[in-house]
Structures are given as structure tokens and as C-alpha cells.
């Protein structure tokens, strides 16, 4: 369909998948939670419904299997258990991946059919097999074989695929299929990288015995020559074979997961092409053949067919229909419906869909006379009227029902321009109301249904009488009718905007905020250079207006960029569940404050640190159920993920009630790993000991588990959070649990910096690193060996000279005081001696570009109001 529709579907599907996943988790905890079952069922159902609009059959099929399973759960026929939840979650994950793929390439991957087939089969195995599960593999295989012509597998057949196979091969296959022998279509989508593992896909598919026709096509459209990778297999194989399924499976046993095997029904194979023709000979044939058919006199029918075949030109459409009819009749017991359809085809020059499934009708020659061409509108009208007839007949007299039926029948006739019939129908309805009986309407409707223009063509009457009920259900699939695909047009109510555009707008507003800073400089110049105080005042007034607008714009765009923390929190229920199951622990995860919002950059960057903390908690913090019971705690542990806003920051806490951190163990481990010396470790307070976990290379786990990463520990968390301008702290009580607290700025688009002077230049220092500014009299600076220090409120603070750190020549200064910037870097305080403090300002930081990117020590650059570039220091790198 259209891209816009797909663009709408993708977010919808993702949201529904999320709903389903969290619903399944709820359901696992409480299998009798009816609300959750309904929620999951409906979400999955909606995905299935919407996915049908796109060319994503595999996805629809997998979702359908999941839906069927959930339907059983809903009706209490199937009890939900963890294994089932696992299976369903896996399927939803697969669907999620396909959604990503659809977004990237507008198409499912080549192996989607095979994967869907495998996963759907797995799901369906749980359907209605509650007690048959133990039967084991052989029964399982038999069951698969016996599946009543798996509706699924038949549906997988892309009709286009069959249409590509040569007609002669199809006819041969058709002959076999009519004779009751199995014909299978084997679709094989080799892995793109198969050449590298020694697979020869052509050789593989050739191993399948009984081949009737082989089609090889590009799995993806070939790209341009430059993009072509000859080492990637971009082929898709389709093989029509008379081999039984078991033999196909044996031949393809190494590639089974990339192969779909579908039985082919005879009617799927029928393809007729050729020139139109007419004449009494065909009419005669139709009459006699229909009579033979009705009487079951197949021998005579065969003779009639043979006689006509010998005289009719082989290029004619009708003559080809006879070839197929001949094949159909070659079976000892021909399928009457199929034979009837083909007799009708040869007789009328077009192919009608037989009951039970649509035949490819598109092959009817385009030059058919208009009166004979299928008219979907007429058939549809017939179906609609038949439905009204049927429902009235069933319901009996019912004034309520009569009302809408009346509207429908009148509208249909009005739409068809059949005014005479309308009058008759109106009279019938009036009579019905008077007599309080539906009889007058029923007979009038029957008359209309039987009337000439609405009547189905004569040829179709040879078909076995179709239950009226079937009309309704037959209508929808009709793939061959029309074929015009409308492009989508959205009635826009809310806008979905590409993130990149927001980012661009954001940058532009940032530039504006910075460039408006030039106005005060201009005002100063007006006053000082041009001695125009008035002009200076006016500029300042204008500046105030622009400043306010710029601030507002900035505030607004910030709001646009705000995301709720739910974006990251939502992953955790699933993750915690999976990990807990793996570790054999029982955990109750509680989420609080998911609505708390923060800038998108923060939210996105927060995922990994948070993941790490939660994993740590699960892996090291939470005890096994037995251990917990022994300690007098409940067997189920609790992890609380809580977010809230505190002034300008968003605070996220991860709290567990596990065993807590043992400072003694930390000390021991830190000494053993050489992180600190024994004496230093002994001096540390318990809290300081706990803080050792932030040191690089520290990990208390006796063995590295596959959960909490390898070698990367809390130091990574600390680095990430500090890079975002945030802080981490851990508090823990032995035996009671641990709380990790992350505090992050609400937004990081604007950085508050302080401008400082050093070695005659200006530099920016991010404000969040600065603890305070002090002027220290020279005589209070002490030298310990070569290092300088000073004492600030009874704490010794090491001093460093910024100019030396930047390798700049020091200018001797005669001032009595040194300007010291006290900074907090990596949990330690450091004093930076600079030349002078200047003002603070809000800036948009731009990262260093080009060859400058390799230079350490700078967080980025920004523009000053007078147009100069200011380098902003990254103290963490510098120190």
C-alpha cells in the first residue's frame, strides 16, 4: 500500500507490541487476570488486522498464530504458563524485528516466510494439544502431516510465484494434483551469506526429487552495478515438485528453516491464456457438457472435450480451458466443482471463482465482450441483497431489523438506478409492516435477486448451489478485482516530525540565543565609540525583547524534546523477568514516576547506565530465594525504579532490598586488585569504601557472570552520567539493600559556563563542575614538595595552575591574591589557579570538529557575543 499508511502502522504496531509484552508479564504473574488477557489479545488482534494492509504476509501469519493461542487462553481452553509466555514474547520480538525491517526497507527479510512458518507451527503446537504434548516426536510429525491442508501454508503461496512457472509445467502438475497425488511448492530463500559457509543453493534445491519446474528470481531488486555485492546470495528459489513432503524435507534437511513447503491445490495451478473466440460450437458444448456433468457421466464428457479439442485452434483461450478440463477429467474421480468451473470457463470464455477459494481470474483476455466480463459491482450488489434476504428470513418479523434492511435494499437499487424495482420493494415493505410479516419483502427480494440484470451469468449457474451465507464471506478477499491502489492522504491532526528536524531547529535556536548576545556589545560600542547614549538605550530595549523571545523559543523547543522516562523504564519489566528466571531469583519490579520527563538526549543516554545498575542489583545484590528465607526475608525480592524531578534535575533511583554492599568485602577486594593500598583501605570510612566501586577495574563478583558484563563496572556508569553533567551516589545497608541514585540535568542543550582568564586568553569552564570560587592570599599557598595546596575550611585542596595544564607560558602576576576555581572532578576536589574570573553565561556547546577532534581537554566551543570563539574546557580530561 502506501508509505504514509506504513509510516502510521509502524509506530502503532510498536506501541501495541509494548502493550502486549507488558500484558503478558502481568498475565504470567497472575494468570487469571482477565483484563490483561483481553488487553494482550486485542493488541495482537489489531496488529494482525492492520498488518493485512501491507505486503507482510509472514508477519500477519505469525501474529495470527499468536492471536489464536491467546484466544484459547481467553476462553480458558489453555492455561498460560511461563513457557507459553516465553514463546509468545519470542514471537512478539520477532514481529518487532520485522517492524524495524519494514521501516528500514519497506519489506520483510527474505527468510521471513520460513521463520514465520517455524514459529507459528511452534505456537500452534500448543493449540488444543494440552494433553497430547507428551506424545513425542513421531506423533508430532504425523500431526503436522495430517493438518487439514494447512490453511496457513496454502495462504503462503504467492500467486505471482506460480504465475511465473511455465504453463506446461503447471498443467502437468495440475494433472497429477487432480489425480489425488500431492504436488508441493518448495520456496527456498538461502541465507545471503550462504556462499561463505559452503552452501550451493542451486545444488541444494536440485536435490529435491520429482521436480516439475524451477523458478529462480532475485530476492531483492538488483541494485545498481556499483552497489552490487557478488558475494551475497540474492536469489529466491521456487520449485514445483511431485515428491512427497517427507522426501522434500529429507533433501532440504540442512536448509529446512529457510524453506517453506506448501501443498498446492489443483485450482491454484489453473492458468489460461490465449485469444478470445466465439461461436455456436462453444454454446453447444456448454449445454451438453453441463448436462453430462450434472448427471456424472464423465466418460461422455471426456469424449465431448476430446472432440472439441481436435477442432479448436490451439491458440484460443477457450481451447486452452479445454486442455485444463481434459486434465481435470483425467482423474479416476474428477472433482465436480473444479470440472464445473472449467466447463463454465470453456463455455463462457472466462473463469469464475469456484466456491471455497478464488481462482486467478486475471488471465481472462482483456478483449472479452463487456457483457461477459465479470462485474464486481453486480456480484457485490447480489451479495448484499442476498444477505438482507437471509437475515430477514432468519430473524422473522422484527420492525427494528426491517428498518435498516429497508434502507439498504432501497439504497442498493437507487445506486444501481433501478427505479422500477425500487417502487416494487417500497410497496413490499409497506405491506410487510401492515401484515407484520416479512413474507412480502422476502418474495419481492427473491424476485429482485432472480431478476435479469442482477442475476449471476448463466455459466455460473452450472456451479453447485452456494449457500447464501458464503456470499458475504467471499466478498472480501477478491484480490483480482480492480487493483487500483489509492495513495494515502492524511488528515493531519497531530504532526509526526523527524527527530533530525527538531535537532536542527534546536541548533538554530541555540545560535539565535548566542548571537543575540552581540547586542549588548553593540550597545556598549554605540555609547563608548559613537557617544550616542540614546542609540545605546534603544539597542538595549530591543535586546530585551529579542532576549525574551529567544528564551521562550528555547523553552518551547525544550518541551518538544522532552520524553518521559517511561521510554527507558518500559524495557525493564521484561529484562528483569528474563534475568531473574535465568538466575533462579524471584523479583518484584516496581516502577514509579514513569511520567517524569527529561530531554531526549538524557533519556537516551540513560538507558545503558540504568541497565547496568539494575543488572548489578539482580546479579550481586539480590540473594537466591533460599538465602533470603534463611535471612528472614520474603523469598521474592523487590527492585524499585523511581524517577522524580528535583528542581532542575531528574533523579532516578534504583533501590533493592537485597544483601547490601559489605564495606569489608569491598576493602578486601580493592586491596587484592591493587585498586588501593592496604593502609589507605583501612583509613576509609564505610561510605568511602563503598565508593571504591567506582574505581576503574573494580568488580566484586568472584566470578564474572554473563549478566553484569565483563570488566566494565560502575566506573562506566559514573563516566557516562558525569559526561551528561550528572552525579551518581550509592548508599547501602548491609543485609537490607542498596540504593543507587542518579541525578541528571533536565536538559543538556544549554550549558551554563563560567568564563575564566588564563595566560591572557579566555576559557569556559562548565558551571556544574565548579564548587566555588575563592581568592587565596599568596602566603596561604603551601608547597608540599613540588605540589601546591591550600586549606579551605579545614580541608586540604591540591592546587594546579590552568596555564600549566594547557602548556601555556605563565605570566608573572604581582597580585597579592590568587584566583582559585574549586572544582569537583571524579569525586575529588581540586583548586585551579587562574588569572581572573569573568561572567557566567548560557551557551550551546559545539563539539570540536575536523582535526581538532583528537585534542583532549576541551568539551567544545561556543561563540561569544562579540563573535570570538571560546574554548570550553573538559576538566575531567585535563586533570
Amino acid at each position: 500500500m502506501s508509505n504514509l499508511l506504513l509510516a502510521r502502522f509502524i509506530p502503532e504496531a510498536r506501541e501495541l507490541l509494548q502493550i502486549s509484552a507488558s500484558g503478558l508479564l502481568k498475565l504470567e504473574r497472575n494468570p487469571s487476570d482477565e483484563t490483561a488477557v483481553n488487553e494482550v489479545f486485542r493488541a495482537v488482534h489489531t496488529i494482525k488486522g492492520s498488518s493485512g494492509l501491507f505486503d507482510a504476509g509472514a508477519l500477519t501469519r505469525l501474529v495470527h498464530a499468536a492471536e489464536d493461542l491467546l484466544g484459547e487462553v481467553r476462553s480458558d481452553a489453555l492455561r498460560i504458563d511461563s513457557a507459553l509466555v516465553d514463546m509468545l514474547l519470542d514471537s512478539l520480538d520477532q514481529v518487532g524485528q520485522w517492524i524495524d525491517e519494514l521501516e528500514r526497507r519497506d519489506a520483510l527479510p527474505a527468510d521471513a516466510d520460513a521463520v514465520a512458518h517455524r514459529m507459528a507451527a511452534q505456537l500452534r503446537r500448543r493449540l488444543g494439544s494440552q494433553d497430547g504434548e507428551a506424545a513425542g516426536a513421531p506423533a508430532d510429525g504425523a500431526q503436522r502431516e495430517a493438518e487439514p491442508a494447512p490453511a496457513d501454508a496454502v495462504a503462503t503461496l504467492p500467486p505471482a510465484l506460480l504465475a511465473r512457472l511455465p504453463a506446461s509445467a503447471c498443467l502437468a502438475a495440475f494433472r497429477r494434483a487432480c489425480g489425488g497425488e500431492a504436488v508441493h511448492l518448495v520456496c527456498y530463500a538461502p541465507e545471503p551469506g550462504c556462499f561463505f559457509n559452503g552452501t550451493d543453493p542451486l545444488q541444494a534445491i536440485r536435490q529435491v526429487p520429482g521436480a516439475l519446474a524451477l523458478d529462480i528470481a532475485a530476492a531483492e531488486p538488483w541494485g545498481t552495478l556499483e552497489d552490487l555485492d557478488p558475494y551475497q546470495c540474492n536469489l529466491h528459489f521456487a520449485l514445483l515438485t511431485e515428491a512427497p513432503r517427507a522426501e522434500i524435507e529429507l533433501a532440504m534437511r540442512y536448509e529446512l528453516d529457510r524453506t517453506t513447503i506448501a501443498p498446492v491445490r489443483p485450482r491454484d495451478l489453473v492458468r489460461i491464456a490465449g485469444e478470445p473466440s466465439d461461436g455456436p460450437i462453444w454454446d453447444d458444448f456448454r449445454e451438453t457438457a453441463s448436462a453430462f456433468l450434472a448427471a456424472g457421466r464423465y466418460d461422455e464428457l471426456r469424449k465431448a472435450v476430446a472432440a472439441l479439442r481436435s477442432v479448436a485452434g490451439p491458440t484460443l483461450w477457450r481451447r486452452q480451458a479445454l486442455d485444463w478440463l481434459d486434465a481435470a477429467l483425467s482423474a479416476p474421480e474428477p472433482d465436480p466443482a473444479l470440472a464445473a468451473a472449467l466447463v463454465a470457463a470453456a463455455g463462457s470464455g472466462r473463469l469464475d471463482p469456484p466456491p471455497g477459494g478464488p481462482l486467478p481470474t486475471a488471465q481472462a483476455p482483456a478483449s472479452q465482450p463487456a457483457s461477459q466480463a465479470a462485474d464486481p459491482r453486480r456480484d457485490l450488489a447480489h451479495s448484499v441483497l442476498a444477505s438482507q434476504h437471509r437475515s430477514l428470513e432468519r430473524a422473522g418479523y422484527d420492525a427494528e431489523r426491517l428498518a435498516s434492511v429497508g434502507t439498504v435494499v432501497e439504497n442498493v437499487l437507487l445506486s444501481l438506478g433501478r427505479d422500477a424495482d425500487r417502487a416494487a420493494i417500497q410497496a413490499a415493505f409497506a405491506a410487510a409492516r401492515e401484515a407484520r410479516s416479512v413474507a412480502p419483502v422476502l418474495s419481492a427480494l427473491a424476485a429482485v435477486l432472480a431478476g435479469a440484470p442482477l442475476q449471476r451469468p448463466e455459466a455460473a449457474r452450472a456451479l453447485p448451489e452456494t449457500d447464501l451465507q458464503e456470499f458475504a464471506t467471499e466478498v472480501a478477499p477478491g484480490p483480482a478485482i480492480g487493483g487500483k491502489e489509492p495513495e494515502a492522504r492524511i488528515a493531519a491532526k497531530s504532526l509526526k516530525v523527524d527527530q533530525a528536524k527538531i535537532d536542527l531547529l534546536m541548533n538554530l535556536i541555540g545560535e539565535l540565543v548566542v548571537s543575540k548576545n552581540a547586542l549588548p556589545f553593540l550597545a556598549k560600542r554605540a555609547e563608548e565609540t559613537y557617544a550616542s547614549r540614546e542609540m545605546s538605550r534603544e539597542i538595549k530595549e530591543q535586546y530585551a525583547v529579542i532576549d525574551r523571545l529567544a528564551q521562550e523559543m528555547q523553552g518551547t523547543i525544550m518541551q518538544v524534546r522532552m520524553l518521559p522516562v517511561a521510554e527507558i523504564f518500559d524495557r525493564f519489566p521484561r529484562l528483569v523477568r528474563d534475568l531473574a528466571r535465568k538466575l533462579g531469583k524471584r523479583i518484584d519490579l516496581v516502577l514509579e514516576g514513569e511520567d517524569t520527563a527529561a530531554d531526549k538526549t538524557i533519556i537516551e543516554a540513560l538507558g545503558d547506565p540504568l541497565l547496568h545498575i539494575v543488572r548489578n542489583s539482580l546479579d550481586h545484590g539480590i540473594e537466591a530465594p533460599d538465602e533470603r528465607r534463611a535471612a528472614g526475608k520474603s523469598a521474592t525480592a523487590r527492585i524499585l525504579l523511581r524517577a522524580r524531578q528535583e528542581a532542575d534535575s531528574v533523579v532516578i533511583e534504583v533501590q533493592d532490598n537485597g544483601r547490601g554492599i559489605d564495606p569489608a568485602r569491598i576493602r578486601g577486594a580493592a586491596v587484592a586488585k591493587g585498586v588501593v593500598a592496604q593502609e589507605e583501605a583501612d583509613r576509609l570510612s564505610d561510605q568511602e569504601a563503598i565508593n571504591l566501586i567506582y574505581r576503574p577495574g573494580f568488580s566484586t563478583a568472584a566470578e564474572i557472570s554473563d549478566l553484569s558484563g565483563r570488566g566494565v563496572g560502575m566506573d562506566v556508569v559514573l563516566t557516562t552520567v558525569e559526561k551528561l553533567g550528572g552525579q551518581v551516589s550509592v548508599s547501602s545497608r548491609l543485609g537490607e539493600g542498596t540504593t543507587t541514585r542518579l541525578a541528571l540535568p533536565l536538559s543538556m542543550a544549554v550549558t551554563r559556563i563560567m568564563i575564566v582568564e588564563a595566560a591572557g586568553s579566555l576559557y569556559g569552564v562548565p558551571m556544574d563542575m565548579i564548587v566555588e570560587t575563592v581568592r587565596v592570599p599568596r602566603e596561604r599557598i603551601r608547597r608540599i614538595k613540588k605540589a601546591e595546596t591550600f586549606v579551605l575550611r579545614e580541608t586540604i585542596i591540591p592546587l594546579l595552575r590552568l596555564s600549566r595544564l594547557l602548556y601555556l607560558p605563565e605570566q608573572p602576576r604581582g597580585e597579592a591574591d590568587a584566583a582559585v576555581l574549586v572544582c569537583q572532578v571524579g569525586g575529588r576536589r581540586v583548586g585551579l589557579i587562574i588569572d581572573n574570573f569573568r561572567e557566567g553565561m548560557d551557551v550551546i556547546l559545539k563539539p570540536l570538529e575536523g582535526v581538532l577532534t583528537g585534542i583532549d581537554g576541551y568539551a567544545g566551543t561556543t561563540l561569544l557575543g562579540d563573535g570570538r570563539v571560546l574554548l570550553v574546557l573538559d576538566l575531567r580530561e585535563l586533570l
Binding site: 500500500m1 502506501s2 504514509l4 499508511l5 502510521r8 502502522f9 502503532e12 504496531a13 486485542r42 488482534h45 489489531t46 488486522g49 492492520s50 493485512g52 494492509l53 464486481p376 459491482r377 457485490l380 450488489a381 451479495s383 448484499v384 444477505s387 438482507q388 437471509r390 437475515s391 432468519r394 430473524a395 427494528e400 431489523r401 428498518a403 435498516s404 434492511v405 429497508g406 434502507t407 439498504v408 432501497e410 439504497n411 442498493v412 437507487l414 445506486s415 444501481l416 438506478g417 451465507q469 458475504a472 464471506t473 466478498v475 472480501a476 478477499p477 477478491g478 484480490p479 478485482i481 480492480g482 487493483g483 487500483k484 491502489e485 489509492p486 494515502a488 492522504r489 492524511i490 488528515a491
Partner: protein, 125 residues
């Protein structure tokens, strides 16, 4: 441009967009409701020539909605098409019994959908 008004009651956003698109293009005025309750409320405000009702919906499903519509004197004469992914006879029968006038299986072919809407609203070809 027929200007006939259709109320689509469907919980899937994508499906709603599909109807809006296909039927809107054919000249119908399409209004949307996201569940049965909302559908009934909008329907009662009146003025629709046709309702297209999804079966599986939250709050109030399609069967329930159709039978409520039929109990409302002001809506009894409004044609209702139910639409569902289920192709089973039982589902269609249930919809007809609730009072639907026609039953379509999803995904609906756009051409057939428009044709059905035209026939049921009496719109010219």
C-alpha cells in the same frame, strides 16, 4: 462527490487512516470513533448514512455496538457494515444476528470497500 457521511468505528489507528483515505478519496465524508462507546455516542449525534464497525474493539465490541444501534429508534434504519479479520461463518452469522447488514473480512479490498459503501448509501456510481 457524494457527500454521504460514514462513521468508522475501529480501534486500530492504521485501519482508521486506511478508511479515511480510501473512502475519503471516493467522496465520502468519514468520521472516526476509536471504540464502541465512542462509536455509539457519535452515532447518536446523528446524520450518518452508513456505519462501518470493527468487531474486536475495547470497551464495547462490534456485536454489542450493533445490537445497541438497532435498539436506538433514531439509528434503526442506518445501514451497518461489520468488518472483522475472522472469515468464519459463525462470526458473520453473529454479526447478522446482532443486526448488521453486511459483513466484510479484513483486509478489505479498497475497490470493494468503496463499492459496498456506494451501494449501501445509495450513492451513484
Amino acid at each position: 462527490m457524494s457527500g454521504k457521511r460514514i462513521l468508522v468505528v475501529e480501534d486500530g489507528i492504521t485501519m482508521r487512516m486506511f478508511y479515511q483515505d480510501v473512502l475519503g478519496r471516493a467522496g465520502f465524508v468519514v468520521e472516526e470513533a476509536a471504540n464502541g462507546v465512542e462509536g455509539l455516542e457519535k452515532a447518536l449525534l446523528g446524520g450518518f448514512d452508513l456505519m462501518i464497525v470493527d468487531i474486536n474493539m475495547p470497551k464495547m465490541d462490534g456485536y454489542e455496538l450493533v445490537s445497541r444501534i438497532r435498539r436506538e429508534p433514531s439509528l434503526q434504519a442506518t445501514p451497518v457494515v461489520t468488518i472483522s479479520t475472522e472469515a468464519k461463518d459463525a462470526d458473520a452469522t453473529r454479526a447478522y444476528e446482532a443486526g448488521a447488514n453486511f459483513y466484510i473480512v479484513k483486509p478489505a479490498d479498497p475497490v470493494l470497500l468503496v463499492e459496498t459503501a456506494r451501494l449501501l448509501t445509495g450513492a451513484p456510481v
